[in-house]
Every structure is written in structure tokens, then in C-alpha cells.
């Protein structure tokens, strides 16, 4: 569905890269026509002083779960190749890239290796033709350094970013928790947090050799973040992401073996949580994504170690990032850089910012509206949120995809 006629949103607080300003925004032909000019013909919508921000671009989700994404103000998502079957063939990429249209766009991430097994490089160039916007190693790290180097070289040639999972596979083994007091008290198989920094160190070195762009989907430890910081200072093309779980929660949340807090990578120590918040503040972390991975009782109503990792995060992403604004960790423009502008840049799409000529993917937000996160009442296909019962604030009032309003 194309936008039929121009619409002007008046009396809005626009979150632009330059700052928040009261103005109007005109959507025309599915794009942002002009900002600060409200004299055009056609329909007008009074935003009543609410926040008008770019629709969120969610980098690295595991399911296309439209109701949850729309609830959370997400208009595009980069889908991880960990599907059944994996996104390791052009036909699958082509199919999935159209699966959300028109009111939601899915940007598939090509599986780095066939079957995501970390051995043979998949047909990445053909998958790029089919619509893949990036390459992902999947839920796992590629443990063979030779394969990883050749992958990064190939990706550099194709000018595609490689999105990797940073946990040394041999150290992690069958661990489900971070080594430390809590894992020891609960008797959970655990791996040292250093497994992350070790994986990052190798992949940074390989990416540097290959001249590739590398994105670490989740960096969750102080040591890992320190390495990203150094690599950035040296001018390497590296970006880092995280999900709200790792800046909101520590491994304390796994008390009573709550499987909704079973995540990959696992929740870390309180010191690592603080390090993630510092890294968000100082720009070391570029992207905050939901990691949306709805899991039903068949995957979660199990003993902790037997449960599948993952959380349904699409609905809470915005509220959690707005919580960082309330806590003075970041300001509003930076919040939307993290959840929209930077991921869009990484995917090479003209969206994720209120810039004239960009896709009119917009979210009208009441940043103060209080609500309580309730597992049982979520829009997602499953309510596996570690934030169940938590009061929060910030809700999407209206959403436009390509200038067309989305039913919420």
C-alpha cells in the first residue's frame, strides 16, 4: 500500500539528529517531504505536543512477530538467519524479505555458513541479490578461525557487514550461566565471562586483516567493551550492540531458576551491567536491539538448563531505552540513534532518522505514559519477558510505515 496523499503532522516534538524541536513534518509519497513547514495541502494530524521519532529499526531478531513489533514502534527488523530452515539460500532470503510488507519491513541477514554450522561459507553474494542486508553468524560464534577469516574477506569484497555472536565456543560448552557466585550457588553449568572478550579479540584481529566491517550483536562485559573501545580509537570499522536485558538486569535475575532470564549470552555480573551502561553513554555501543525471540512454554517451562535461551523483547525495547534517558545515561536524540539511526545505517537503508527524503517510518510516542509489563498480556506470540511485572513508561500512540498509518 502506497501513501495516497500527503499528510502533515503538526504540533509535534520532533526527535532529529540535531536535537528535539517543536515543529511539523510532512509525509509525501511515502517519504519525509519536509520538516518545519506545515503549509502544505492535504490532511493534517495534530500530534498534541507528543514525541515524533523515527520508527525503530531492530537489528537482529529471531522471529517476524508483527503485533509485537508494532506495539513497540518498530517498523523494520533485521531477521537473524536462525530460522527453520536457516536463511542460507537465496530463495529463502527472497521469500522472507517480502514477508512483512506492506506495514512492516524485514531485512534478512544471510547465514554466514551453510546450515549455520560454521564450516562452509554460504552463497552470500546470491543472497545479497535476493535482499540480504548483512551477514550473520547466527546464535553461535564461528570457532574455526580459518573459516572466519575467509568469511570476513568475502564480506569485505561484497561490502556487507558481518554480524557476529561473541562467545568462545570451547569455553562456553554447554554452559547456561556466567561463572560466579550465583551460578555456583544454583549449581548451573557456567562459563567465564572472559569467553566474550576472547571471541572479540580474535574477531577484531581477523576483521582488521580482512578490512571487513564487523558488528558484535551483543557486547555484555566490561572486558569485551574495553576491546571495542580500543579498536574504535584505532579507527577500525567496528560497531557494537546490546539488548536491554544486559543493561537492566544482572545474573541476580536468574534467582529461583527463572527461565525467562535464560539468555544467550547469559546475564552477567552487576559490574558488567554497569559497564554496558557506561558504554552506551560514551558511544562504545552503537545499537540497542530487542533480540526478539518469543518462546512458548514448550521451550521455557523447563528446568533452567534445559530451557531454550531468548526473550520476547520487541514490546519493551522502547520503554527500556527511554529508561536510560530518564536515568540521564543518554539524551533523547542519542536514544533514537541507538534504536533507529545506527541500525539503519548499518543495514544501508534510508530510514531510521527524521531526515528529508528518508522513508516516512514514524512513531508518535508518549514518553511519559506509565504501564506495567505483563507477560500474560503481551502482543508477542509468547510472553517470555524477564521484565514481567515491572512498571515502566513510554508507549507508542501511532505508527506510520512509508507514510501509511499502521493499525495498533
Amino acid at each position: 500500500m502506497k501513501q495516497a496523499s500527503p499528510v502533515t503532522l503538526t504540533n509535534a516534538r520532533l526527535v532529529t539528529p540535531e536535537g528535539v524541536r517543536e515543529s511539523s513534518l510532512r509525509m509525501e509519497g511515502g517519504r519525509i517531504g519536509s520538516i518545519g513547514w506545515d503549509q502544505g495541502e492535504g490532511e493534517t494530524v495534530d500530534a498534541k505536543g507528543k514525541l515524533l521519532a523515527p520508527g525503530l529499526v531492530d537489528l537482529g531478531v529471531f522471529a517476524v512477530d508483527k503485533p509485537a513489533f508494532h506495539f513497540g514502534g518498530i517498523t523494520r527488523a533485521a531477521l537473524m538467519p536462525d530460522q527453520s530452515p536457516p536463511l542460507d539460500l537465496p530463495s529463502r532470503v527472497s521469500y522472507i524479505s517480502k514477508s512483512g510488507k506492506p506495514d512492516f519491513w524485514v531485512h534478512p541477514l544471510a547465514a554466514a555458513t551453510r546450515g549455520l554450522e560454521g564450516r562452509e561459507i554460504a552463497e552470500i553474494a546470491l543472497m545479497r541479490e535476493a535482499g540480504a542486508r548483512g551477514i550473520a553468524t547466527g546464535r553461535k560464534w564461528i570457532s574455526d578461525s580459518g573459516v572466519m577469516l575467509r568469511l570476513l574477506q568475502y564480506a569485505a569484497m561484497l561490502d556487507m557487514p558481518v554480524i557476529t555472536h561473541a562467545e568462545d565456543a570451547a569455553l562456553v560448552g554447554d554452559a547456561v550461566a556466567t561463572a560466579g557466585e550465583y551460578a555456583t550457588r544454583r549449581g548451573l553449568p557456567s562459563a567465564p565471562a572472559e569467553a566474550e572478550a576472547i571471541a572479540i579479540a580474535r574477531d577484531l584481529a581477523l576483521a582488521d586483516m580482512a578490512g571487513a566491517r564487523i558488528h558484535f550483536r551483543q557486547v555484555t562485559t566490561r572486558a569485551g567493551l574495553a576491546m571495542i573501545r580500543v579498536a574504535k580509537a584505532q579507527g577500525q570499522q567496528v560497531t557494537a550492540g546490546v539488548t536491554p536485558a544486559h543493561f537492566m538486569l544482572s545474573d541476580l535475575a536468574t534467582a529461583d531458576f527463572r527461565t525467562f532470564a535464560r539468555l544467550s549470552p547469559p546475564l552477567r555480573s552487576e559490574d558488567d551491567r554497569q559497564a554496558v551502561r557506561e558504554a552506551i553513554a560514551d558511544g562504545t555501543i552503537d545499537v540497542v536491539s530487542s533480540g526478539h525471540d518469543p518462546r512458548g512454554p514448550e521451550d521455557k517451562r523447563l528446568p533452567f538448563a534445559d530451557a531454550e535461551p531468548g526473550m520476547a523483547g520487541a514490546e519493551t525495547l522502547l520503554a527500556m531505552v527511554l529508561a536510560l534517558v530518564l536515568d540521564d545515561v543518554i539524551d533523547l536524540p542519542r536514544a533514537f540513534e541507538l534504536v533507529a539511526t545506527n541500525p539503519a545505517k548499518l543495514l544501508g537503508v534510508e530510514a531510521g532518522a527524521l531526515v528529508e527524503g528518508y522513508e516516512a517510518d514514524l512513531a508518535l510516542i508518549d514518553p511519559d505514559k506509565p504501564w506495567i509489563i505483563q507477560s500474560a498480556r503481551m502482543a508477542a506470540t509468547a510472553g517470555n519477558t524477564p521484565f514481567d511485572g515491572q512498571p515502566t513508561q513510554g508507549r507508542v500512540l501511532a505508527l506510520w510505515k512509508g507514510g501509511v498509518p499502521v493499525d495498533l
Binding site: G173, D174, A179, G180, E181, A183, T184, R185, R186, G187, L188, P189, S190, P192, D256, F257, P297, E298, R301, L302, P303, F304, A305, D306
Partner: protein, 341 residues
């Protein structure tokens, strides 16, 4: 039939149900010191009974106890079965192979099924940490943890404490609690729920606990739980009152944790020579099953005056009788323990 008022230590804990206000026994970590002492004191009467020719009472007559074991076990299952039967309960053993219950909803479904059969108590062993708690959430009757993954094995820790108490008393020493005692636990600490439960229990009763294992078999951060960490067994044994040996849980190991059993024995095997260096009267314990010649030499395991390994087994039945009795009191409407549900 409330027995707490006849206990020699009745003053050590509150009266009636307040002495043990928990519905389930999931771990030592949930118990207060006085609650541990209460269970130990309650077990004394069963130690006496079990030494009679007629080892039977009707306290739990008419009750159904289900032993649901999702992991292989011989001695613990037998011990719980005997305990239930000696109390007069109808005991049913459900021995599910681990592989068949690992998938999907089965564990919860099993719990719901057991609940629907109106069990009066369920004893559970499962290979995953936290599994017994998960089941306890889904059923209406008391749940006893007979070992969950690498988390807890509370009745083992209680029976160890009871065995130690008896051994100390027989020597004319104070066995009321273990204040001032140094107890070494040596072996595969990482994979051991027995070590965790014993660490908590022995510390609650006043002991200093030393844990000894090669680094790969020592859990990260265990010192935060108050343990003294050793890698040198001889150093750990110095001045020890008790040494508790654990077997290598090779079934829980993925990858190589020690170079060989021979080398392990060289560094961590309890030999007569090592025991002699520890002290003249150091007691030897082992939760079983033993791997003779690996973590413990036969010569040591069979020392009549030092090894209390068979006494541990004996106390196991008494402790489990005490736990089953206490946990079913509410349901049985025992005076002072609230009405039947």
C-alpha cells in the same frame, strides 16, 4: 503425635509448626540453623526405631508417597523407599529414564500427573538444577528434593550431619553442633550437589569447611559462600577433624577435567598415610558410591574406628523418615501443625 516437645533440644526451636514452617524440602539454602537442628533431633527417634527388631510405625498409614527419580539412583531411592515404608505409608517408585523426560512439557506434565494421583508427598531426583523447585510449583503436596542437578541434595547433607553427630557423641565429644570443627570436602566439587548442600549445612552448624579439588573441578566464586579453597590436599588435611571424599562424576563431565584416575589418586586420593598426617582421630566420610582406589583407598574406607561411611547410610533412613514425617504433619492434621488441607 507431635514429637518435638519430647526432643532433648526442644528449647532450640519454636513450638509446633513454627519449628519447620516450609511445605517442601528443596534445599539446605532455604533452612535456618534451628530448622536443621529440628530435623536432626526429630531423626533421633527413628535411629532408635531402626535398631529395633520391629522397625515399623503407622504414623503415615494411608498416605501415598511417590518417589519420582528421573536420574539413576540405587541407594537414595532405596533409602527413601524404606523410610516411607517404615512409617507405614504406601510407597510407589517411578523410575523414569532421563532421556524420556528431557523433551518439551514432559516434566511439568509428569508433575501434574503425579499431583492428580493425589500423592501426599513426592520425592524427586532430577538431572537439572532447579527441577525439583519447578515441580514443587505445580503440585499441591510437599516435595522433597532427592538431588537436582548440581544444585542441592538436602537429605544427604542432613544425614551426614546426623552421622557426624553420632560419631562425635560416641567418642564422648560434643555433637550438638560442629562449632570449632574443621571439615574437608575433597573431590569433584564442581559437579557435586552433595558438596553444596554440605557446605551450607555444616557452616550453619558452626563448622569451618575447606573445599579441595583441582581448579577445573572447583566452582567459580565458591569462596563467597564461605568456603576455604584448597588445591593441595595435604595442606587441606592439616588439622582436619573430618574428611569427606567425593567421587569424580564422570557422567556430568564434558571434556577432560583430569589427566587420569591414576594421577588424580596421586594428588587427591585419601590414603592411610595422608589420613595419618591429618590427625590421630580424623573421621572419614563418603556419600557413596565409592570408587575404591581412585578417591579413597579400601584400607581407609574400611577403618572401623575412623570411617563412618556405613553409618551415613544408616542415618539416611532415619533422616528421610524425619523429613517425611515432618513435611506431612500439616496434611495429616497433627496437633499444633494446622488442619488437614
Amino acid at each position: 503425635m507431635t514429637r518435638s516437645d519430647t526432643s532433648p533440644h526442644a528449647a532450640r526451636y519454636p513450638a509446633g509448626a513454627q519449628a519447620f514452617p516450609h511445605r517442601d524440602l528443596l534445599g539446605i539454602g532455604q533452612l535456618e540453623r534451628h530448622e536443621i537442628l529440628f530435623l536432626l533431633d526429630e531423626a533421633e527417634q527413628w535411629v532408635d526405631l531402626n535398631r529395633q527388631r520391629t522397625k515399623h510405625v503407622d504414623a503415615l498409614a494411608g498416605l501415598t508417597i511417590i518417589n519420582a527419580f528421573f536420574e539413576n539412583s540405587t541407594r537414595t531411592l532405596l533409602s527413601f523407599e524404606i523410610a516411607g515404608k517404615r512409617l507405614g505409608a504406601d510407597v510407589v517408585n517411578m523410575h523414569a529414564a532421563t532421556s524420556s523426560v528431557k523433551k518439551g512439557e514432559t516434566l511439568i506434565d509428569t508433575a501434574i500427573t503425579l499431583n492428580a494421583m493425589r500423592a501426599d508427598a513426592i520425592v524427586i531426583r532430577h538431572g537439572s538444577s532447579g527441577a525439583t523447585g519447578l515441580i514443587a510449583d505445580k503440585v499441591d503436596c510437599p516435595v522433597l528434593n532427592a538431588g537436582d542437578g548440581q544444585h542441592e541434595h538436602p537429605t544427604q547433607a542432613l544425614l551426614d550431619a546426623l552421622a557426624l553427630r553420632h560419631a562425635l557423641r560416641e567418642r564422648g565429644e560434643n555433637g550438638d553442633d560442629f562449632t570449632g570443627r574443621t571439615i574437608v570436602i575433597c573431590g569433584d566439587i564442581l559437579h557435586s550437589r552433595v558438596a553444596r548442600s554440605n557446605l551450607l549445612c555444616l557452616q550453619a552448624l558452626g563448622a569451618t569447611v575447606r573445599l579441595c579439588a583441582p581448579p577445573a573441578l572447583m566452582p567459580t566464586g565458591i569462596e563467597i559462600m564461605g568456603a576455604e579453597v584448597f588445591h593441595d590436599f595435604d595442606a587441606a588435611l592439616e588439622g582436619a577433624d573430618v574428611v569427606m571424599m567425593l567421587r569424580l562424576q564422570t557422567e556430568r563431565m564434558s571434556g577432560q577435567f583430569i589427566p587420569s584416575a591414576r594421577e588424580y589418586h596421586h594428588l587427591y586420593g585419601l590414603t592411610k598415610a595422608r589420613l595419618d598426617k591429618a590427625g590421630d582421630d580424623t573421621l572419614v566420610m563418603h556419600p557413596g558410591p565409592m570408587n575404591r582406589g581412585v578417591e579413597i583407598d579400601s584400607e581407609v574406607a574400611d577403618m572401623i574406628d575412623r570411617s563412618i561411611i556405613t553409618r551415613q547410610v544408616e542415618m539416611g533412613v532415619a533422616i528421610r523418615m524425619a523429613c517425611l514425617d515432618v513435611l506431612t504433619r500439616r496434611g495429616r492434621g497433627v496437633e499444633g501443625w494446622g488442619d488437614a488441607a
